[in-house]
């Protein structure tokens, strides 16, 4: 018995030392200066200098209140879950910098009941459905033919294209839409009149992955940077 205790003493000491070193390393990593070591992945295009707290804001209440509220929810004494530690990132965080009066597809528009199928397929009512952060890209949706979800019945009064839009729809050329139209309509550009001149799909995909804009650099509105960036 005594021998066994004696042999375990160094083990216990090693455990304690290990736990202390681990806790110390954790504490250091949680310092704001080491943010880059505990993010989920590289920031998306244009977000390199964004501060963590721009999107990850502390949840209301103390830790005890948050645990208490969620336990109450678990026992049916509260209608909604309470945010724990940090608030869930929402459209409001994105729109604080990216809200624009000329947005062709503002996220809230997709809350209307008639967009049910689009919501089922794309969830376009959430910014992060296409712009998931910490992926090191610009648009995290891989496919580019998503206009099919809402624009099958679109008609143009005076179609300027050499191949009319309704013909493109019939041919299911949905990957060609973004060759002329940027989704949020913020680029200042002249749309092409010949389908052969539109931006190739591969260039759009490269732009989605974080490459240079094939729509040019002239924009109606720039994102608000000064508040949330380092």
């Amino acid at each position: 018995m005594n021998n066994s205790t004696a042999t375990r003493k160094p083990q216990h000491l090693a455990y304690k030392l290990g736990i202390m070193i681990g806790l110390l390393a954790l504490a250091i990593l949680l310092l704001p200066a080491y943010d880059k070591f505990h993010v989920r992945g590289p920031m998306n295009s244009g977000h390199d200098t964004l501060k963590c707290e721009s999107c990850h804001q502390e949840a209301p209440g103390s830790l005890r209140q948050q645990i208490q509220a969620n336990l109450r929810y678990a026992f049916g004494q509260r209608e909604h879950l309470a945010d724990f530690s940090h608030q869930a990132v929402s459209n409001e965080n994105c729109l604080a910098c990216h809200e624009r009066p000329n947005d062709r597809h503002p996220v809230y528009r997709f809350l209307e009941p008639r967009f049910l199928k689009a919501r089922e397929n794309l969830s376009p009512q959430h910014c992060v459905s296409c712009h998931m952060e910490h992926k090191g890209q610009r648009v995290t949706r891989a496919e580019i033919g998503y206009c099919v979800n809402c624009h099958k019945k679109t008609k143009l009064r005076k179609d300027p294209l050499d191949v009319p839009h309704d013909r493109l729809f019939a041919l299911k050329r949905w990957e060609s839409c973004l060759g002329c139209h940027d989704f949020h309509g913020n680029h200042i550009m002249k749309t092409k009149k010949m389908v052969g001149q539109i931006i190739p799909a591969e260039n759009i995909r490269a732009y989605f992955r974080g490459g240079a804009s094939p729509y040019g650099d002239d924009r109606h509105y720039k994102a608000k940077k000064e508040v949330n960036h380092d």
Binding site: E92, P101, L111, P113, R114, L116, K153
Partner: protein, 286 residues
């Protein structure tokens, strides 16, 4: 589990219970759920009265009278090279867009079964409810489960001549025989709770007022870019090449709804009981 382990576990759980509940600070507020007693349908109805009043003033006094004195209104009114203001549907969309900037989660949309743009045609559940609305002339209330929003649809009625003149003449319009007082479409309101507090209602009304104010302010900003802008001040287009200032426009709007909205809010405040509301407010502006 040994007797020793049992008592240690029991003691730990007891300490945790005391820490979490006995000595804990007050519980987090759960979105005022406990105090909410007013059905959201009443809030939608009140908001629709306000919205209908603003639409009537815009359509009749600004668009209708404005066209007579040379002002233009267009779908592409935001284009830099176009000297025009928003058509009534786009004025509502401007209002709705401004409302979305608020943390109050009230949403407003406008649609139809005969829209000028086919992209705005009702579909699915919204179309079904609109057909019932068209047949019964009654507002429709329902729940959209996938996004958890309570919804109210109200008839959008052709209350002024410019409504039917524009839609009947428009080459993209799928219907050219609209008559005054026809149901041309529906305004759709959405909110995340089934019951609201009086404070929630006041916040929603304030957000709508701000939205209307922002929409008119956006038009006045565009007016500043015109080569020969109308005089902005006390007068209205019915007096000539004028536009009311932001204050004058908002005063006219608020006066047109106050006689309805304030008594309703007062009654709710006094009794906290449900009282019947008028469904649409088209007749209160005259």
């Amino acid at each position: 589990m040994t007797s020793k382990s049992f008592w240690i576990t029991l003691f730990s759980l007891g300490c945790l219970g005391i820490y979490l509940f006995a000595t804990a600070p007050p519980p987090l507020v759960d979105q005022n759920i406990q105090k909410a007693t007013i059905p959201v349908e009443q809030m939608f109805t009140l908001l629709q009265v306000e919205n209908a009043a603003a639409r009537l003033i815009w359509t009749k006094e600004i668009v209708g009278e404005g066209k007579k004195v040379g002002l233009k209104f267009d779908e592409h009114w935001r284009d830099v090279d176009l000297e025009a203001g928003p058509l009534p549907a786009l004025f509502l969309r401007e209002t709705a867009k401004s409302m979305e900037k608020s943390p109050v989660r009230i949403s407003l949309f406008l649609g139809s079964d005969f829209p000028i743009s086919p992209d705005n045609r009702f579909e699915g559940l919204q179309q079904e409810k609109f057909q019932i609305l068209r047949q019964t002339q009654q507002a429709q209330f329902f729940y959209v489960p996938d996004i958890g929003l309570h919804t109210g649809m109200f008839a959008d009625i052709a209350v002024a001549a410019p409504c039917i003149e524009c839609h009947n003449k428009h080459e993209q319009s799928p219907k050219h025989d609209w008559l005054l007082n026809d149901i041309m479409g529906a305004a759709t309101w959405m909110y995340p709770a089934s019951v609201v507090t009086l404070e929630d209602m006041l916040k929603a009304i304030t957000v709508l007022h701000q939205g209307i104010q922002d929409a008119y302010a956006a038009y006045l900003e565009k007016i500043k870019t015109f080569a020969h802008p109308p005089i902005i001040g006390e007068h209205w287009p019915r007096d000539g090449y004028y536009l009311p200032s932001l204050n004058v426009f908002m005063q006219a709007f608020l006066q047109s709804t106050a006689q309805h909205t304030l008594p309703v809010l007062g009654a709710l405040s006094n009794s906290r009981q449900n009282i019947p509301l008028k469904e649409t407010g088209h007749d209160i502006v005259e």
